[in-house]
C-alpha cells in the first residue's frame, strides 16, 4: 500500500499525502470491520482447530483420561501402519476415479447447456438438484439402488440376462460405486461454475475466429478452453480438496468395507478418533491428510498460475 504513495517535498504535498493516508486507513479499517464477522469465525472454527489438531497429534488421549505427551510417536506409528498406507492409496484412487470423470462430464454438460436450447434453464436446475440434496439421505437411497437382490440396478441387469455383482460388498466394485454416486451428486455444481465461466467469454472472440475460418474444434481448444481456465482452476482445486475429504458417502454406504476397500483417510480418521478413541493418533492422521491436500493444491496452483488468463478485455 505504501509503495503507491508518492512523496512530495512541498507542504501541500505532505497534506495531500496525509489526507490520502487517512482515507486509506479509513478504508482499510472499514474493510476489516466488514470482514470481522467471517474472520472471527474463520479463526475460531478453522484456524484454531487446525492448531489444536496439530498439538493433539503429539499426545496419546482416549478423550476421557488425561492426555499424555508422546512426541512424534503417533507419526512413527502411522508411517509403519499398513492400514494407513492403504487408506492413502484408497483416497488417491477415489480422487482419480472422481475428479476427471466429474470435470469432463460437467464440461460437456456446460457446453451443451451454454447453447440456447429448449428447457435449458429447467435442465440446469435438474442437474444441480443432486448437489442440493443431503448426502447421507442420498447414500441410503443409493444403497437401495445398488442392493444386489432388490436393487434397481441388478434388477435391470437381470432383465438383459446379466447377473449383477454385489456392488457394495465386492471389494472391486465398492469404490467405483462410491465414486459414481459422488460424480452424480457433484457434477451439477461443477457444471454450474463452468457454465458461468463459459458465459463470461466474449462472443466477439468467436465471431472474429469464425471470420478467420476456424473450425468449431479449433475454437474450443484455442478460445474456450484457455479462457475457461480460471473456472476450471477453481473447480479442480475445490473439488480435489473436497474429494480428498470424502467421508459421508463411505460412512453411509460401506463403513470403509468390504475389507477396507473403501477405507479412505477421512473414514480412517473417524474410526481411530471416534470408534477407537485414539484422538492423538487420529489427529496425526488428520495432519497427514492436511499435508497431502496442501501438496496437491500447491501443485495445482503452480501448474495453473502460468497458464491462466483472468482478463478478457
Amino acid at each position: 500500500m505504501i509503495d503507491n504513495i508518492t512523496y512530495d517535498r512541498s507542504v501541500q504535498g505532505h497534506r495531500r499525502v496525509e489526507r490520502r493516508l487517512a482515507a486509506r486507513v479509513r478504508a482499510v479499517a472499514e474493510a476489516y470491520a466488514l470482514l470481522a464477522p467471517s474472520l472471527v469465525g474463520f479463526l475460531l472454527f478453522l484456524v484454531a482447530p487446525i492448531f489444536g489438531v496439530a498439538a493433539l497429534s503429539l499426545f496419546d488421549w482416549n478423550l476421557m483420561g488425561a492426555p499424555s505427551f508422546v512426541g512424534l510417536d503417533n507419526y512413527r506409528e502411522l508411517a509403519a501402519d499398513p492400514e494407513v498406507w492403504r487408506a492413502v492409496l484408497n483416497t488417491i484412487y477415489y480422487v482419480v476415479l472422481n475428479i476427471p470423470a466429474q470435470t469432463v462430464l460437467a464440461l460437456l454438460l456446460a457446453l451443451a447447456l451454454n447453447r440456447r436450447i429448449r428447457g435449458g434453464k429447467v435442465l440446469r436446475v435438474v442437474f444441480v438438484l443432486p448437489w442440493m440434496a443431503m448426502p447421507v439421505a442420498l447414500g441410503i437411497i443409493w444403497s437401495w439402488v445398488f442392493d444386489p437382490r432388490y436393487g434397481v440396478v441388478n434388477q435391470a441387469l437381470g432383465m438383459v440376462g446379466i447377473d449383477g455383482p454385489n456392488w457394495l460388498t465386492d471389494p472391486a466394485w465398492a469404490m467405483p460405486v462410491i465414486a459414481s454416486v459422488n460424480v452424480w451428486q457433484y457434477t451439477g455444481y461443477t457444471m454450474l461454475i463452468l457454465l458461468a465461466g463459459l458465459q463470461a467469454i466474449p462472443h466477439t472472440l468467436y465471431e472474429a475466429a469464425a471470420i478467420d475460418g476456424t473450425t468449431p474444434m479449433q475454437r474450443f481448444f484455442m478460445i474456450t478452453l484457455p479462457l475457461l481456465r480460471p473456472s476450471l482452476f477453481f473447480v479442480l482445486v475445490t473439488n480435489t480438496i473436497g474429494s480428498f475429504q470424502i467421508f459421508d458417502t463411505v460412512f453411509v454406504m460401506t463403513q470403509g468395507g468390504p475389507g477396507g476397500a473403501t477405507d479412505v483417510l477421512n473414514f480412517h480418521i473417524y474410526q481411530q478418533g471416534f470408534q477407537l478413541f485414539r484422538s492423538g493418533y487420529a489427529s496425526a492422521l488428520a495432519m497427514v491428510l492436511f499435508a497431502l491436500i496442501l501438496l496437491v493444491t500447491a501443485a495445482q496452483f503452480l501448474y495453473f498460475r502460468k497458464r491462466t488468463v483472468y482478463d478478457f478485455s
Binding site: L63, G65, G256
Partner: protein, 445 residues
C-alpha cells in the same frame, strides 16, 4: 463438495467448542424444572419405557426427561464423545463391554452412598447381574434387564414346510454334516420353483425363502452361540487374551459361513450384513427367512412384524458340547458429571424400581433385572400366545457372558469388518480368526 465440507467442518467445530465450554447440553433449568437426558440404543424398548417415564414425571413435577435414542453403532461413538466433551446424558444404558473403561475413567457415579442413604434394597436384583457392576465396594449401575438368544420362527413358514414347533426342539448341529439343525433348515428353504433345499433340482441362486437369518455386529446373536456349543470360550480367561484362533472357535465360524455358502439355508450376507442390513424381524416378516437367531429384546419387534401369533420362539440347537446361549444384561448408570445428581438418582431409582420394570415387562419389552418379575414378562407373552420361557431356561443353562476385555472397542470395530467378509465368502474362517485374535490382542496392554 468443498462447501458442504466447510459447512460441516464449521458445524462440527461449533459443536465441539460448545461441548468444550460445557454448554449446549440441554439440561438447563427452566422455570424451576430440570430436564434430564436419558440415553438408550434400542428403539423397540423405547415406547413402554417412555410411557413409564411419563408416570415418573407426574410424580416429580419438577423433573422432565428427554430420551436420546441412537442405534448401537452410533450410541458408543456419541456417548464417548459426549463424555469427553463433559456433556454426556445424565442417565444412560451401560454395557459390560464398555463398563471397565468407564469405571476406570471415573465417568460413572458411585451409587453405593446413595443406596445406603436411601436404604435401597438391592437384594431384589439378580445377584449374577448386580455383581458385575461393583468395583472395590463401589456400585456403578443397577440392573436394567437380561437377555439370551433364541430361534424366532414364522408360524406360517413352519406350517408350509409341514413342520410343527415341536420339530424344532432338540435339534443338534455338528461341524461335519450340519446335523438335524441343517436338515430342518433345508426343509424351510424354498426356491422360486417350490423346491426345498433337500430336494433334487433345488436352485440355490433363486431362493425365495431361506431357513435362517443371522445378523450380529459382534457375534452375540450368531457365531458366539455356536462357539459356546462347540467348546470355544473366545478368551483364555475373563480379562485375558483372545483365543478365537482355536479350532473350536474356527469350526463355529466355519459353520455359520457354511449355513450361508455351503448349505444355502441362511440369508446371504449381502442382505443381512450389519450395519446396513435390515433387522431380522423385517427379514422374517417379509418372508425372506423362516426363522432368525436373535435376542430376547427383539420380541416386540417380531410381534410387530408378525402380529397375531405370527411367530414363535424355539431353543437354539445343541452343538457337540451341548446347549448354550450368550447371556447378557444391561445397567442404568448415572453420569458422574451430571449437573443434576439428585434428580438423576431419582430417575435411576425409578428405572430400576419394581414398578417401572414391571411396566416394561408387562409390555413385553425386555426380561427385567429383578428376577421376581420374570413371570410378569413370561405371562405377558403367554397372553399373546408366545411361549418365551425358553429364554429363561437358556439363561439357567450353559451360558457365556460378553467377553470381559479392555479391547472391546478394537474387537467391535474389527469384528464388524472381518466377519462381514467371512459371511460373504471373501475371507476364510481360519484367516479371519487369526486376524481378529491378533488385532484384538494387540490392543491389550
Amino acid at each position: 463438495m468443498s462447501r458442504k465440507i466447510a459447512v460441516s467442518a464449521v458445524a462440527a467445530a461449533a459443536l465441539l467448542s460448545l461441548a468444550a465450554c460445557g454448554g449446549g447440553d440441554g439440561s438447563d433449568s427452566t422455570g424451576g424444572a430440570v430436564t434430564l437426558r436419558y440415553a438408550m440404543w434400542d428403539e423397540v424398548q423405547k415406547p413402554p419405557i417412555e410411557q413409564s417415564i411419563r408416570e415418573f414425571e407426574k410424580a416429580h413435577p419438577t423433573i422432565k426427561v428427554q430420551i436420546e435414542l441412537n442405534n448401537w453403532n452410533d450410541y458408543w461413538s456419541k456417548l464417548q464423545t459426549q463424555l469427553a466433551g463433559r456433556s454426556a446424558p445424565d442417565v444412560f444404558w451401560d454395557h459390560v463391554s464398555y463398563f471397565p473403561k468407564f469405571s476406570k475413567e471415573g465417568v460413572l457415579t458411585d451409587l453405593a452412598p446413595l443406596i445406603a442413604q436411601d436404604k435401597v434394597d438391592t437384594s431384589i436384583y439378580d445377584a449374577k447381574l448386580a455383581e458385575g457392576w461393583k468395583v472395590d465396594g463401589k456400585v456403578y449401575g443397577l440392573p436394567k434387564d437380561w437377555d439370551t438368544i433364541g430361534l424366532f420362527y414364522s408360524t406360517k413358514a413352519l406350517k408350509e414346510a409341514g413342520l410343527t414347533p415341536a420339530d424344532l426342539d432338540g435339534l443338534t448341529w455338528n461341524p461335519a454334516d450340519g446335523g438335524t439343525f441343517v436338515k430342518a433348515l433345508q426343509k424351510l428353504t424354498v426356491d422360486e420353483n417350490g423346491k426345498h433345499a433337500d430336494e433334487p433340482g433345488f436352485d440355490p441362486k433363486k431362493v425365495k425363502q431361506y431357513g435362517l437369518a443371522m445378523q450380529a455386529p459382534t457375534g452375540q446373536q450368531d457365531w458366539w452361540n455356536f462357539a459356546l456349543q462347540n467348546g470355544c470360550t473366545l478368551q483364555d480367561k475373563p480379562w485375558g487374551r483372545w483365543t478365537i484362533d482355536q479350532p473350536a472357535c474356527v469350526q463355529a465360524i466355519q459353520f455359520v459361513q457354511d449355513l450361508r455358502l455351503k448349505y444355502h439355508v441362511a440369508v446371504p450376507a449381502t442382505v443381512t450384513n450389519p450395519p446396513n442390513g435390515p433387522s431380522l424381524d423385517q427379514v422374517v416378516g417379509r418372508g425372506e427367512a423362516a426363522a432368525a437367531m436373535d435376542g430376547s429384546w427383539m420380541l416386540r419387534a417380531f410381534d410387530t412384524a408378525l402380529p397375531g401369533g405370527g411367530f414363535g420362539v424355539a431353543d437354539l440347537p445343541a452343538g457337540p458340547i451341548g446347549k448354550g446361549s450368550v447371556y447378557n444384561g444391561l445397567t442404568e448408570a448415572v453420569y458422574a458429571g451430571t449437573k443434576h445428581p439428585k434428580e438423576a438418582w431419582e430417575l435411576l431409582k425409578w428405572l430400576t424400581s419394581e414398578r417401572h420394570q414391571k411396566a416394561v415387562a408387562q409390555a413385553g419389552a425386555v426380561w427385567p433385572g429383578i428376577p421376581s418379575l420374570n413371570d410378569v414378562f413370561a405371562d405377558a407373552w403367554k397372553a399373546k400366545g408366545v411361549d418365551v420361557t425358553g429364554f429363561k431356561k437358556a439363561a439357567e443353562g450353559t451360558t457365556m457372558g460378553y467377553p470381559l476385555t479392555e479391547a472391546a472397542d478394537v474387537y467391535n470395530v474389527k469384528a464388524l469388518d472381518i466377519f462381514n467378509q467371512v459371511w460373504l465368502g471373501q475371507l476364510s474362517p481360519q484367516n479371519a480368526a487369526q486376524k481378529i485374535t491378533t488385532e484384538a490382542n494387540a490392543a491389550i496392554k
